[in-house]
Subunit: 145 residues, 2 copies
Amino acid sequence: MDRQQMARLLCSHGVRPTQQRLSVYEYLLGHPIHPSVDTVYEAVSVDQPTFSRTTVYNTLHALVQAGLVRELPLCSEERRYDAGLTPHAHFRCVACGCIKDVPLAQDTVTSLLPDGGETLAGCMVQGQELSLSGLCAACSADHEV
Amino acid sequence: MDRQQMARLLCSHGVRPTQQRLSVYEYLLGHPIHPSVDTVYEAVSVDQPTFSRTTVYNTLHALVQAGLVRELPLCSEERRYDAGLTPHAHFRCVACGCIKDVPLAQDTVTSLLPDGGETLAGCMVQGQELSLSGLCAACSADHEV
DNA sequence: TTCCTTATTTGTAATGATTACAAATATATA
DNA sequence: TATATATTTGTAATCATTACAAATAAGGAA
């Protein structure tokens, strides 16, 4: 997706496509590593040294609000973000902290819930996230040694 | 569960049953409201005014480490804890912040994953958490008005 | 019980992520 | 171009969590 397409996408979601917002969104799309605020900040600062950390916060909030980016509830020390919107779960290694995507078939999560997840004792379910934790391949190998 | 049974349970999980730890665990078991550290601290401080906030942190870490308490990855501003170990998901209202339990049949989550969740591209899955978000019954009613 | 060793608790200080805020800047519209 | 509005910036404040060392409590041995 080029920058112009991104701009249109942001517009259609009610987010004004400023240079800074495009930079952040472009980084998220191009680096599906579930980066923290600081990782994003360091990356976009390389080309634009006056980029403000506050702008990264503001932009991520705006993109999450618009539904273009997910904030991952992985309950670590810092928040992680993901611009990938295809349904997938996340696995977090408790040893090294790495986060891996786990593909899921569409609707597998909602299928677990009554009414297909539409309602839930009167609640309106809007978002869902399946988080797994444990030892990644590398770390579990280390443990065996 | 009385305090003596709790003490035995803690012992069997390698956690020395001190007065403070029993108080925290008793509070969690008796108040399945997914309390924050501060909520626990305020509660146990009523009877024991010298209870330290640090002890609440230490105790929750110890109980989580021992597998007696779950730390909920709901990605809010503060961590929430749950002593209920029966498999269930959590629904968090984005408007009021309330957290509700969502019952799940045993193994429904792991059944979504390859190999029943045992392995995952070489990863050892140890924990799992299904988080839902949206508007609770009360808040969605408010929205309609 | 008393002594001794070790683990835990306490309270304060430090850390680090996030937010508040106001001035400066950019953007969109007329 | 001029004007109004939204965004960005940088600093300061906030708040949850952690680090740390002294004080205290718990458990075992004599």
